[in-house]
């Protein structure tokens, strides 16, 4: 079982965004705030620190939308964002999480 149902994936094109950020309180609010103010739903979020670097990596799963390139530029401008990369929906990061997300 995958986190994203394959049929669903075909129906809505998804993008996966990988963001390296400084690891401190508030950074997540800055990033997701840019999405929420546009009523742009974030379908999935994963975030963990990256080794001992003081950085965290945020993975976002979002629906394809014409606003995405602009969103990425806005995220890139945040002071605590180091890098941002966009991947296609076939990226595996969210794949094996499905069993944590089954309805009971």
């Amino acid at each position: 079982m995958n986190a994203i149902n394959r049929q669903e994936e075909q129906a809505i094109a998804r993008s996966i965004i990988e963001i390296d950020v400084n690891n401190h309180p508030g950074v997540m609010s800055h990033v997701v705030g840019l999405f929420s103010r546009r009523t742009y739903n974030v379908e999935g979020i994963l975030c963990l620190p990256v080794g001992q670097s003081g950085l965290s990596r945020i993975w976002l799963l979002v629906n394809e939308d014409q606003r995405l390139p602009q969103m990425i530029k806005q995220v890139e401008k945040l002071e605590d964002v180091i890098t941002i990369r966009r991947h296609n929906a076939d990226h595996t990061v969210f794949r094996d999480l499905g069993h944590f997300f089954q309805s009971s």
């Binding site: 309180p25 508030g26 609010s29 800055h30 705030g33 103010r37 390139p69 602009q70 530029k73 806005q74 890139e76 401008k77 945040l78 002071e79």
Partner: protein, 556 residues
């Protein structure tokens, strides 16, 4: 040699080291340690506003005339929430502002302590960046960085929230950080400016479109030089007024919603639009799909997120405007563009900006023109928000960058008076004139007391139409003349209010020779309110109705 200082003392010292000489604000419990330290400073003068929003706009006035970050202070809770509007206003107009707020002690954060609000959370979407400081040590990094962020690239507001116990925490300091300043912008890519120059050289009907970024970058002279070298008719946004003198032969004044008809019609005809430090705001473009329908676009902006945001650029250049112009200028050929310049002149003759009744000082345009006639270009002009703002934008002969301070992006009523006070404090040798309305002035009327206390050279021209003119206009034109909540039934006696606040006041309605009375009031040193009744049925024309294309203007 090391010294032991509290977080509050460090904050003041770091501000001193930043070169800050004037701060403005309003005290309260959670910021009292900083106020205590500020009181000991022999270097920094504190201007006490009468409301935190007033303090925010006073700081904005200082920043807008100088181009340098200005500082305002407020306490936690209601102090911080009162600041929000001024911070949001600075964000939308890209004004460098450093707001410092007190916060409840760290251990009490999150307990709904007295006067606790999540200032950090509240200011995320309205600042360029914000900080919640968690130790005195951190101030050494955060304060210079706040100034650096506020001033670098596209300027903007930065908020620093400092818990009270961080302010009182004492630490030993042996080394001070360098003050934070604007970082150099990345160098312009020469290849792109060369392509842009080639496009300009080969265009038949190019127009220059200047935005507030030209002012922020200090690039007005270079922009005018480019216009002159290549004979580029030039439009300005509300934020860019003053970048090119309005009476320059190439100036077509403001574009968009309340621009002249010939200006908007010319935009329809251009084959190349050179947008510099402008962001294609909806008040400028009208219906975007029909904005400059025949033009390729060259877009120069320091903020990469502005490129392709509203209109896709044929050539997008992320660059400091001044740097890009420096590279562009030598590559652009001298060109007289006789046909195109003649065409613009023809349009201008056919559809000129009309300022009816401009000779009558008791009319709105006449009043604005008479005020202008009393002043030279060294004066600073601020406005509030409404019809009066647009009329001043249309009719005042602005000729100098940073001469014009107005709330463009947020359109905040209440901006004018405190911004004028800030401007006058920052540049006391100048006369500052604030055009306001009877609605707007009441939004920060308490700052008249600040004006009196500081004895600033501010002349407030109150254009009183006993109504919320712009709302009145919209209801008349677009809501079937159903006037609702836009006419004041009770009117204060503004003359008495001003006098009661300790500033001089005159009523032009009572003056037998309004021009002479105005001249005398403006020439007299110190703050003065000048009251003038105007006709409530006057409209700001021409006008692009909401949602329409710029060519479909109504009125005049």
């Amino acid at each position: 040699m090391s010294e032991t200082l509290t977080g509050a003392q460090m904050t003041v010292r770091l501000l001193e080291r930043q070169g800050i000489r004037i701060v403005t604000g309003y005290p309260g419990g959670a910021i009292l340690p900083i106020y205590d330290a500020l009181g000991q400073s022999t270097v920094i003068r504190h201007v006490l506003a009468r409301h935190e929003q007033g303090a925010g706009f006073i700081a904005q006035g200082m920043a807008r005339v100088s181009g340098l970050p200005a500082v305002c202070l407020a306490s936690s809770g209601p102090g911080a929430t009162n600041l929000l509007t001024a911070i949001a206003d600075a964000k939308l107009d890209s004004i460098p502002l450093v707001a410092i707020t007190g916060q409840v002690p760290r251990a009490m954060i999150g307990t709904d302590a007295f006067q606790e609000v999540d200032t950090y959370g509240l200011t995320i979407p309205i600042t360029k960046h914000n900080f919640l400081v968690t130790s005195a040590e951190e101030l050494l990094e955060v304060i210079p960085r706040a100034f650096q962020i506020a001033a670098s690239g596209r300027p903007g507001p930065v908020l620093i929230d400092i818990p009270k116990d961080v302010q009182t925490q004492a630490i030993e300091i042996s080394h001070w950080p360098e003050p934070g300043g604007a970082l150099p912008a990345p160098a312009t890519i020469t290849e792109l400016t060369e392509q842009a120059a080639a496009l300009i050289n080969s265009a038949a009907r190019p127009l220059l479109y200047l935005g507030g970024g030209v002012i922020h970058s200090g690039a007005s002279a270079a922009a005018v030089e480019l216009a002159e070298k290549s004979s580029l008719p030039t439009v300005m946004t509300l934020m860019a007024l003053g970048a090119m003198p309005v009476d320059h032969p190439l100036s077509m004044g403001m574009l968009g919603m309340h621009g002249a008809r010939y200006t908007n019609l010319a935009l329809d005809e251009c084959d190349l639009l050179i947008a510099i430090g402008a962001r294609f705001d909806d008040r400028a473009t009208g219906k975007v799909a029909q904005f400059c329908p025949n033009a390729k676009i060259i877009h120069i902006d320091i903020d990469p997120a502005e490129l392709d945001k509203i209109k896709t650029a044929f050539i997008g250049i992320q660059s400091d405007v001044q740097d890009a112009l420096n590279k562009l200028l030598p590559a652009v050929k001298q060109n007289s563009r006789k046909n195109w310049v003649d065409r613009i002149q023809t349009l201008k003759n056919q559809f000129p900006m009309q300022l009816p009744d401009a000779d009558n000082p008791r009319s709105h345009f006449g009043l604005i023109r008479t005020v202008a006639a009393c002043l030279d270009d060294s004066a600073i002009i601020t406005t509030d928000v409404g019809q009066h703002q647009m009329w001043v934008a249309q009719a005042y002969p602005l000729r100098r960058p940073r001469q014009w301070l107005t709330s463009g992006g947020l359109g905040t009523m209440g901006f004018g008076v405190p911004a004028a006070i800030g401007a006058a404090i920052a540049e006391p040798e100048r006369t500052v004139v604030c055009f306001t309305g009877d609605g707007s002035i009441l939004m920060n009327i308490q700052e008249l007391v600040t004006a009196a206390e500081e004895n600033v050279n501010v002349k407030i021209i109150l254009m009183n139409n006993a109504s919320l003119g712009l709302v009145h206009q919209q209801q008349t034109l677009f809501y079937g003349e159903r006037l609702f909540a836009s006419q004041f039934k009770a009117m204060p006696d503004f003359i008495k209010i001003a006098q009661g606040c300790g500033i001089q006041a005159i009523d032009l309605d009572q003056a037998s020779n309004p021009c002479a009375t105005l001249m005398e009031a403006i020439s007299r040193q110190g703050p003065c309110l000048i009251h003038a009744s105007i006709d409530a049925t006057q409209k700001v024309y021409p006008m692009v109705p909401p949602g329409a294309a710029n060519r479909d203007m109504i009125g005049a």
